[in-house]
Symmetry: D2
Subunit: 180 residues, 4 copies
């Protein structure tokens, strides 16, 4: 089975370093050939992000919602995700990302807003029904020279977490067990 | 393999309804016979919770850290977890719950503090390295008559999430793949 | 001195109930004739909110930053403020609302997201340097029939808080006291 | 009128640097002779913090609740306030700090948890009805050599904020205006 992966970038400027960080994280995490990635650079969609209805936006939203894994990446604006990323997520109904495994990524200028991915972006994704398998990932933009090494560390932690979670899955109540 | 499960209850009063909610959640989630549960009712340990060092507390902390699954349950005090639960978690070093799958549970008087498990308790557990497989669970204490049904709904969602996560685990980079 | 008041509404739909709630709050809080209010309905500016630079948006941002009091009001989307409101705030530089007294208002369908104004919108405004004189105000949209009474209660609390704060201001170190 | 000031320190170790930071902040903020300070070092009260009822604890709680200004200071444990500080605050009923101006202070090892005072401690105090006149104050413990200078900057910002707030208080609806 080919895993369906989405990368959603909330930077109002296209082709940002934030996109590069997210792409690297996916490469470090998943086995080559086991997945297909779709990238949504929201900078390309600012003209329609508040249009309602919008077939184009609806297709983008649906694609992410049907992903196995989605990386939501944004520069840190005011200690949290951008309005652009939030505007994309606002288009979902309640629980619109149910069952999607999601990794929250914020890039920032220094360590000051390190807590942002875990206290702001992760709860937002979880509110939509997404599953965040560990802490959010905060990347200091000035560390691009060490991108591979830093992202490898994060990927190793997510991989370890996912293996631990899979171990628990094997002890779950069977799907068809009688409910009380 | 027998799954190791811990339930940690942060209610200063012992044998609370909060404990009952947590126990029910574990029963609904896991297959009978597949796990062993240890309950830590922190109300029994208020006299040593701030003692340092304490062999007894250290043993409790170590037991939880070596669990596969831990349910952290607390009544809602001031919109969040109790100081008693936090005092127990404060005894861990950084990353002290690494790899433990954790479910945050808060009980409250009404819906006003529904966001507490997701925005307050979940990020705290994640900060310690725990993995929270979905939203936090908030239970309105007045609904004890419908405990089974409500907890079943939450358990079904966690079970579904864990199966989805297990699916991703099968596409991870092999543990021994060459690192860049 | 005439107080300068701004109301900023983050609803993608214009002339919303959220705007009505914010206007009512200002009326209940301030003495008639003592202030002038500017309303920014961000629904009217979705076409330029991501344009950079934009003279029109810059003028709106500057007007709010020079206000004495600003009410930031938004419907609750995904347990927090809208992407539209965030996109407006993202246009500010760091500390761009320094010294502005700000009241965070969220309207929502039920009590589930009551914590949103205090845990999400207030910290965002404070990050920008604004001063929030009390808890955020959450209004359940179904209560429009009791709008006056409910908003009066909130206004009374803010008024009481502001009087308490003024009492402390009289004991501050003089502005020109020697610094260490 | 003499201002009543309380300093509450949530460090399980007594006479901490965190206490020193809080004391310095009060000195920089208020005019000498205009206030009286009571210090509560919670390290001295761990044996009774979970006792219920407790006359001693009740007296401490009441003293803080009747303060004009209270500084709540804690080392950063797990990205937020300590369980000890929370246990003290848990003893209040809902709205137990109504009308108290409160400054949240966290000390930490580095900038990683800078957001803690604003996203964790401030909302907790606000939930209790306290009024936080600006952002929370985060102090990096390694900067004790520059304590005076750094705290002076924070004090200047709070002082400026309080003067701005006092300006708004003069335009409030009169206390006895007719309610709708």
């Amino acid at each position: 089975m080919t895993l369906k992966v989405s990368i959603i970038v909330g930077n109002p400027k296209p082709k940002s370093r934030t996109l590069k960080v997210a792409e690297t994280l996916v490469e470090k995490l998943l086995e080559p050939g086991s997945y297909e990635t779709t990238v949504i650079d929201l900078a390309d969609h600012t003209d329609e992000i508040f249009a309602w209805p919008s077939e184009k936006m609806a297709a983008l939203n649906a694609g992410v919602a049907s992903s196995d894994l989605a990386v939501f990446a944004s520069p840190t604006y005011k200690a949290t995700y951008t309005g652009l990323l939030k505007a994309f997520l606002d288009r979902y109904p309640a629980n619109g990302l149910a069952g999607v495994t999601a990794i929250p990524v914020l890039t920032g200028a220094d360590l000051t807003h390190s807590m942002g991915p875990t206290v702001n972006l992760a709860p937002l994704l979880v509110e939509l029904g997404a599953i965040v398998p560990g802490r959010g990932f905060y990347f200091v933009a000035g560390q691009m020279d060490h991108l591979d090494q830093i992202v490898q560390g994060a990927a190793d932690e997510y991989a370890s977490n996912l293996r631990r979670l899979a171990g628990i899955a094997s002890s779950l109540q069977p799907i068809d067990h009688p409910r009380t």
